[in-house]
Symmetry: C2
Subunit: 140 residues, 2 copies
DNA sequence: TCAAAATTTGTAACGATTACAAAATTATGT
DNA sequence: ACATAATTTTGTAATCGTTACAAATTTTGA
Protein backbone atom coordinates (compact mmCIF):
# COMPACT_ATOMS: atom_id res chain seq x y z
CA UNK A 1 0.00 0.00 0.00
CA UNK A 2 1.66 3.12 -1.26
CA UNK A 3 1.12 6.50 0.38
CA UNK A 4 -1.24 8.78 -1.55
CA UNK A 5 0.99 11.71 -0.77
CA UNK A 6 3.92 10.23 -2.64
CA UNK A 7 1.83 9.62 -5.73
CA UNK A 8 0.36 13.10 -5.59
CA UNK A 9 3.75 14.73 -5.46
CA UNK A 10 5.07 12.41 -8.15
CA UNK A 11 2.25 13.39 -10.49
CA UNK A 12 2.67 17.06 -9.61
CA UNK A 13 6.40 16.92 -10.36
CA UNK A 14 5.53 15.60 -13.80
CA UNK A 15 3.12 18.35 -14.68
CA UNK A 16 -0.05 16.41 -13.89
CA UNK A 17 -2.65 17.89 -11.51
CA UNK A 18 -3.06 15.16 -8.90
CA UNK A 19 -6.82 14.79 -9.11
CA UNK A 20 -8.29 11.96 -7.02
CA UNK A 21 -9.07 9.61 -9.91
CA UNK A 22 -5.67 10.10 -11.44
CA UNK A 23 -4.05 9.27 -8.13
CA UNK A 24 -6.11 6.07 -7.84
CA UNK A 25 -5.27 5.01 -11.38
CA UNK A 26 -1.58 5.63 -10.89
CA UNK A 27 -1.73 3.79 -7.58
CA UNK A 28 -3.37 0.85 -9.32
CA UNK A 29 -0.65 0.75 -11.99
CA UNK A 30 2.16 0.93 -9.45
CA UNK A 31 0.79 -1.53 -6.92
CA UNK A 32 -0.49 -4.18 -9.31
CA UNK A 33 2.21 -3.74 -11.98
CA UNK A 34 0.21 -6.27 -13.97
CA UNK A 35 0.29 -4.63 -17.43
CA UNK A 36 -3.44 -4.01 -17.32
CA UNK A 37 -5.70 -3.13 -20.21
CA UNK A 38 -8.06 -0.17 -19.94
CA UNK A 39 -10.89 -2.56 -19.25
CA UNK A 40 -9.04 -4.22 -16.38
CA UNK A 41 -8.36 -0.86 -14.74
CA UNK A 42 -11.90 0.30 -15.30
CA UNK A 43 -13.70 -2.77 -14.02
CA UNK A 44 -11.47 -3.22 -10.98
CA UNK A 45 -11.47 0.43 -9.91
CA UNK A 46 -15.21 0.76 -10.43
CA UNK A 47 -15.72 -0.86 -7.02
CA UNK A 48 -13.48 1.67 -5.39
CA UNK A 49 -14.57 4.69 -7.44
CA UNK A 50 -18.33 4.43 -8.04
CA UNK A 51 -19.42 6.29 -11.15
CA UNK A 52 -16.02 6.05 -12.79
CA UNK A 53 -16.27 6.36 -16.55
CA UNK A 54 -14.23 4.31 -18.96
CA UNK A 55 -13.56 7.48 -20.94
CA UNK A 56 -11.82 8.89 -17.88
CA UNK A 57 -9.55 5.88 -17.79
CA UNK A 58 -8.70 6.41 -21.45
CA UNK A 59 -8.11 10.13 -20.92
CA UNK A 60 -5.95 9.54 -17.89
CA UNK A 61 -3.78 6.93 -19.57
CA UNK A 62 -3.31 9.15 -22.59
CA UNK A 63 -2.20 11.91 -20.24
CA UNK A 64 0.13 9.57 -18.33
CA UNK A 65 1.83 8.33 -21.48
CA UNK A 66 2.17 11.82 -22.93
CA UNK A 67 3.81 12.97 -19.70
CA UNK A 68 5.88 9.78 -19.70
CA UNK A 69 4.86 8.55 -16.28
CA UNK A 70 3.54 5.39 -17.93
CA UNK A 71 4.31 3.42 -21.07
CA UNK A 72 1.90 1.86 -23.55
CA UNK A 73 2.74 -1.74 -24.47
CA UNK A 74 1.76 -3.08 -27.88
CA UNK A 75 2.42 -6.72 -27.17
CA UNK A 76 -1.10 -7.82 -28.06
CA UNK A 77 -2.71 -7.70 -31.48
CA UNK A 78 -5.89 -6.07 -30.29
CA UNK A 79 -5.45 -4.00 -27.18
CA UNK A 80 -3.01 -1.76 -25.40
CA UNK A 81 -1.53 -2.60 -22.02
CA UNK A 82 -0.02 -0.07 -19.64
CA UNK A 83 3.01 -0.10 -17.41
CA UNK A 84 4.00 2.48 -14.79
CA UNK A 85 7.55 1.16 -14.86
CA UNK A 86 9.11 3.47 -17.42
CA UNK A 87 12.63 2.13 -16.98
CA UNK A 88 13.76 -0.07 -19.86
CA UNK A 89 12.85 -3.71 -19.30
CA UNK A 90 11.66 -6.62 -21.39
CA UNK A 91 8.25 -8.20 -21.78
CA UNK A 92 7.39 -11.79 -22.57
CA UNK A 93 3.96 -12.85 -23.81
CA UNK A 94 2.91 -16.50 -23.42
CA UNK A 95 0.82 -17.56 -26.39
CA UNK A 96 -0.82 -20.34 -24.36
CA UNK A 97 -2.03 -18.60 -21.19
CA UNK A 98 -1.76 -15.04 -22.62
CA UNK A 99 0.16 -13.92 -19.55
CA UNK A 100 2.62 -11.03 -19.81
CA UNK A 101 5.85 -11.35 -17.81
CA UNK A 102 8.49 -8.73 -17.10
CA UNK A 103 12.17 -9.41 -17.23
CA UNK A 104 15.02 -7.15 -16.33
CA UNK A 105 17.09 -5.62 -19.06
CA UNK A 106 19.55 -2.78 -19.06
CA UNK A 107 19.41 -0.20 -21.78
CA UNK A 108 23.06 -0.89 -22.56
CA UNK A 109 22.36 -4.58 -23.17
CA UNK A 110 20.30 -3.56 -26.17
CA UNK A 111 22.07 -2.88 -29.44
CA UNK A 112 22.30 0.69 -30.68
CA UNK A 113 20.27 1.58 -33.73
CA UNK A 114 22.49 1.49 -36.83
CA UNK A 115 20.68 4.39 -38.46
CA UNK A 116 22.44 7.74 -38.58
CA UNK A 117 20.64 10.84 -37.41
CA UNK A 118 17.72 9.02 -35.81
CA UNK A 119 16.81 9.91 -32.24
CA UNK A 120 15.30 7.19 -30.11
CA UNK A 121 13.16 7.83 -27.07
CA UNK A 122 11.41 4.49 -26.53
CA UNK A 123 12.85 1.00 -26.48
CA UNK A 124 10.54 -2.01 -26.62
CA UNK A 125 11.80 -5.56 -26.43
CA UNK A 126 9.02 -8.10 -26.73
CA UNK A 127 9.45 -11.86 -26.76
CA UNK A 128 6.72 -14.35 -27.48
CA UNK A 129 6.59 -18.06 -26.78
CA UNK A 130 5.48 -20.38 -24.01
CA UNK A 131 6.05 -19.73 -20.32
CA UNK A 132 7.55 -22.30 -17.99
CA UNK A 133 4.28 -23.03 -16.27
CA UNK A 134 2.50 -23.86 -19.52
CA UNK A 135 5.43 -25.93 -20.72
CA UNK A 136 5.38 -27.99 -17.53
CA UNK A 137 1.74 -28.74 -18.19
CA UNK A 138 2.70 -29.98 -21.64
CA UNK A 139 0.87 -27.18 -23.40
CA UNK A 140 2.58 -25.56 -26.34
CA UNK B 1 9.79 -8.78 -60.14
CA UNK B 2 9.93 -12.19 -58.52
CA UNK B 3 9.02 -15.34 -60.38
CA UNK B 4 5.60 -16.72 -59.52
CA UNK B 5 6.99 -20.22 -59.57
CA UNK B 6 9.37 -19.50 -56.74
CA UNK B 7 6.62 -18.10 -54.58
CA UNK B 8 4.35 -21.02 -55.35
CA UNK B 9 6.94 -23.57 -54.34
CA UNK B 10 7.85 -21.52 -51.27
CA UNK B 11 4.24 -21.50 -50.12
CA UNK B 12 3.86 -25.19 -50.95
CA UNK B 13 6.95 -26.05 -48.92
CA UNK B 14 5.37 -24.30 -45.97
CA UNK B 15 2.11 -26.19 -46.11
CA UNK B 16 0.11 -23.49 -47.87
CA UNK B 17 -1.80 -24.33 -51.06
CA UNK B 18 -0.47 -21.78 -53.55
CA UNK B 19 -3.78 -20.35 -54.67
CA UNK B 20 -3.52 -17.35 -57.01
CA UNK B 21 -4.54 -14.69 -54.52
CA UNK B 22 -2.20 -16.04 -51.91
CA UNK B 23 0.64 -15.92 -54.37
CA UNK B 24 -0.15 -12.31 -55.25
CA UNK B 25 -0.33 -11.28 -51.61
CA UNK B 26 2.96 -12.97 -50.80
CA UNK B 27 4.51 -11.39 -53.85
CA UNK B 28 3.31 -7.98 -52.69
CA UNK B 29 4.83 -8.51 -49.23
CA UNK B 30 8.16 -9.64 -50.62
CA UNK B 31 8.54 -7.07 -53.37
CA UNK B 32 7.35 -4.01 -51.48
CA UNK B 33 8.69 -5.01 -48.05
CA UNK B 34 6.96 -1.89 -46.79
CA UNK B 35 5.33 -3.26 -43.59
CA UNK B 36 1.86 -2.77 -45.03
CA UNK B 37 -1.41 -2.77 -43.16
CA UNK B 38 -4.29 -4.95 -44.37
CA UNK B 39 -5.87 -1.91 -45.93
CA UNK B 40 -2.74 -1.04 -47.89
CA UNK B 41 -2.52 -4.55 -49.31
CA UNK B 42 -6.21 -4.62 -50.09
CA UNK B 43 -6.46 -1.25 -51.81
CA UNK B 44 -3.28 -1.66 -53.84
CA UNK B 45 -3.98 -5.21 -54.98
CA UNK B 46 -7.59 -4.42 -55.84
CA UNK B 47 -6.37 -2.95 -59.14
CA UNK B 48 -4.55 -6.14 -59.95
CA UNK B 49 -7.12 -8.57 -58.56
CA UNK B 50 -10.59 -7.19 -59.32
CA UNK B 51 -13.20 -8.46 -56.86
CA UNK B 52 -10.68 -9.09 -54.11
CA UNK B 53 -12.30 -9.05 -50.70
CA UNK B 54 -10.73 -7.53 -47.64
CA UNK B 55 -11.75 -10.61 -45.69
CA UNK B 56 -9.55 -12.66 -48.00
CA UNK B 57 -6.62 -10.45 -47.16
CA UNK B 58 -7.30 -10.95 -43.45
CA UNK B 59 -7.68 -14.72 -43.90
CA UNK B 60 -4.52 -14.97 -45.95
CA UNK B 61 -2.41 -13.00 -43.51
CA UNK B 62 -3.69 -15.05 -40.61
CA UNK B 63 -2.69 -18.16 -42.53
CA UNK B 64 0.73 -16.71 -43.40
CA UNK B 65 1.52 -15.80 -39.80
CA UNK B 66 0.29 -19.15 -38.46
CA UNK B 67 2.56 -20.92 -40.97
CA UNK B 68 5.31 -18.47 -40.11
CA UNK B 69 5.96 -17.22 -43.62
CA UNK B 70 5.13 -13.72 -42.40
CA UNK B 71 5.30 -11.86 -39.11
CA UNK B 72 2.75 -9.51 -37.57
CA UNK B 73 4.22 -6.27 -36.26
CA UNK B 74 2.55 -4.49 -33.36
CA UNK B 75 4.44 -1.25 -33.61
CA UNK B 76 1.29 0.86 -33.98
CA UNK B 77 -1.36 1.41 -31.35
CA UNK B 78 -4.25 0.73 -33.66
CA UNK B 79 -3.39 -1.58 -36.50
CA UNK B 80 -1.23 -4.54 -37.42
CA UNK B 81 1.51 -4.37 -40.02
CA UNK B 82 2.95 -7.38 -41.83
CA UNK B 83 6.44 -8.36 -42.84
CA UNK B 84 7.50 -11.29 -45.05
CA UNK B 85 11.01 -11.01 -43.68
CA UNK B 86 10.84 -13.51 -40.85
CA UNK B 87 14.51 -13.26 -39.97
CA UNK B 88 15.15 -11.30 -36.78
CA UNK B 89 15.60 -7.61 -37.44
CA UNK B 90 14.67 -4.34 -35.77
CA UNK B 91 11.93 -1.84 -36.51
CA UNK B 92 11.92 1.89 -35.90
CA UNK B 93 8.74 3.95 -35.88
CA UNK B 94 8.98 7.70 -36.42
CA UNK B 95 6.40 9.50 -34.32
CA UNK B 96 6.41 12.51 -36.66
CA UNK B 97 5.94 11.00 -40.14
CA UNK B 98 4.67 7.61 -38.89
CA UNK B 99 7.14 5.83 -41.14
CA UNK B 100 8.41 2.38 -40.19
CA UNK B 101 12.07 1.63 -40.90
CA UNK B 102 13.93 -1.67 -40.79
CA UNK B 103 17.35 -2.05 -39.35
CA UNK B 104 19.56 -5.07 -39.31
CA UNK B 105 20.01 -6.97 -36.11
CA UNK B 106 21.40 -10.39 -35.38
CA UNK B 107 19.58 -12.65 -33.02
CA UNK B 108 22.77 -12.98 -30.96
CA UNK B 109 22.98 -9.21 -30.47
CA UNK B 110 19.82 -9.45 -28.42
CA UNK B 111 20.09 -10.45 -24.79
CA UNK B 112 18.84 -13.86 -23.76
CA UNK B 113 15.70 -13.97 -21.66
CA UNK B 114 16.62 -14.38 -18.00
CA UNK B 115 13.60 -16.56 -17.27
CA UNK B 116 14.15 -20.27 -16.72
CA UNK B 117 12.10 -22.78 -18.63
CA UNK B 118 10.57 -20.28 -21.02
CA UNK B 119 10.72 -21.06 -24.73
CA UNK B 120 10.90 -18.12 -27.10
CA UNK B 121 9.87 -18.27 -30.71
CA UNK B 122 9.47 -14.61 -31.66
CA UNK B 123 11.77 -11.68 -31.00
CA UNK B 124 10.51 -8.14 -31.51
CA UNK B 125 12.74 -5.12 -31.07
CA UNK B 126 10.87 -1.87 -31.62
CA UNK B 127 12.33 1.60 -31.26
CA UNK B 128 10.35 4.81 -31.40
CA UNK B 129 11.54 8.35 -31.92
CA UNK B 130 12.18 10.75 -34.78
CA UNK B 131 13.77 9.74 -38.07
CA UNK B 132 16.68 11.63 -39.58
CA UNK B 133 14.55 13.18 -42.32
CA UNK B 134 12.06 14.66 -39.85
CA UNK B 135 14.86 15.87 -37.60
CA UNK B 136 16.53 17.69 -40.49
CA UNK B 137 13.26 19.48 -41.12
CA UNK B 138 13.29 20.59 -37.49
CA UNK B 139 10.23 18.52 -36.60
CA UNK B 140 10.25 16.72 -33.26
C1' DT C 1 -17.71 33.03 -2.61
C1' DC C 2 -17.91 33.11 -7.44
C1' DA C 3 -16.66 32.81 -12.14
C1' DA C 4 -13.40 30.73 -15.35
C1' DA C 5 -10.89 26.75 -16.52
C1' DA C 6 -10.26 22.04 -16.46
C1' DT C 7 -12.09 17.47 -15.94
C1' DT C 8 -15.50 13.83 -16.07
C1' DT C 9 -19.35 11.60 -17.89
C1' DG C 10 -22.27 9.11 -21.14
C1' DT C 11 -23.54 8.39 -25.53
C1' DA C 12 -22.61 8.07 -30.21
C1' DA C 13 -19.35 7.42 -33.81
C1' DC C 14 -15.34 5.21 -35.73
C1' DG C 15 -12.22 1.81 -37.49
C1' DA C 16 -9.85 -2.54 -37.37
C1' DT C 17 -10.96 -7.18 -37.08
C1' DT C 18 -13.88 -11.36 -36.90
C1' DA C 19 -18.10 -14.36 -37.65
C1' DC C 20 -20.72 -16.56 -40.76
C1' DA C 21 -23.49 -18.34 -44.50
C1' DA C 22 -23.83 -18.46 -49.40
C1' DA C 23 -21.31 -18.56 -53.74
C1' DA C 24 -17.26 -19.75 -56.19
C1' DT C 25 -13.12 -22.25 -56.78
C1' DT C 26 -10.02 -26.11 -56.29
C1' DA C 27 -8.90 -30.90 -55.40
C1' DT C 28 -10.02 -35.81 -55.65
C1' DG C 29 -11.57 -40.26 -57.32
C1' DT C 30 -13.42 -42.70 -60.99
C1' DA D 1 -12.96 -35.22 -68.35
C1' DC D 2 -16.78 -35.42 -64.83
C1' DA D 3 -19.02 -35.45 -60.69
C1' DT D 4 -18.52 -34.66 -56.10
C1' DA D 5 -16.39 -33.33 -51.90
C1' DA D 6 -13.47 -30.12 -49.66
C1' DT D 7 -11.62 -25.76 -49.44
C1' DT D 8 -11.63 -20.91 -50.26
C1' DT D 9 -13.65 -16.48 -51.21
C1' DT D 10 -17.03 -13.11 -50.78
C1' DG D 11 -20.04 -9.70 -48.65
C1' DT D 12 -22.49 -8.35 -44.96
C1' DA D 13 -23.23 -7.94 -40.23
C1' DA D 14 -21.45 -8.10 -35.73
C1' DT D 15 -17.80 -7.21 -32.30
C1' DC D 16 -14.70 -4.70 -29.68
C1' DG D 17 -11.21 -1.24 -28.49
C1' DT D 18 -10.87 3.49 -28.87
C1' DT D 19 -12.13 8.38 -29.81
C1' DA D 20 -15.29 12.50 -30.43
C1' DC D 21 -18.08 15.54 -28.32
C1' DA D 22 -21.39 18.23 -25.70
C1' DA D 23 -23.40 18.62 -21.25
C1' DA D 24 -22.66 18.23 -16.35
C1' DT D 25 -19.46 18.37 -12.64
C1' DT D 26 -15.38 19.52 -10.19
C1' DT D 27 -11.36 22.22 -9.42
C1' DT D 28 -8.80 26.46 -9.39
C1' DG D 29 -7.73 31.04 -8.17
C1' DA D 30 -8.98 35.80 -7.66
Amino acid sequence: MIDDTKIKSFLGQNGISPLPKRVKIMQYLIEKHNHPTVDMIYSELLHEIPGLSKTTVYNTLKLFTSKRVAVALNIEDNEIRYDADTATHGHFKCRVCDGVFDFSLDRDQLPEIPLNGFSVDEYHYYLKGVCSSCREKGLG
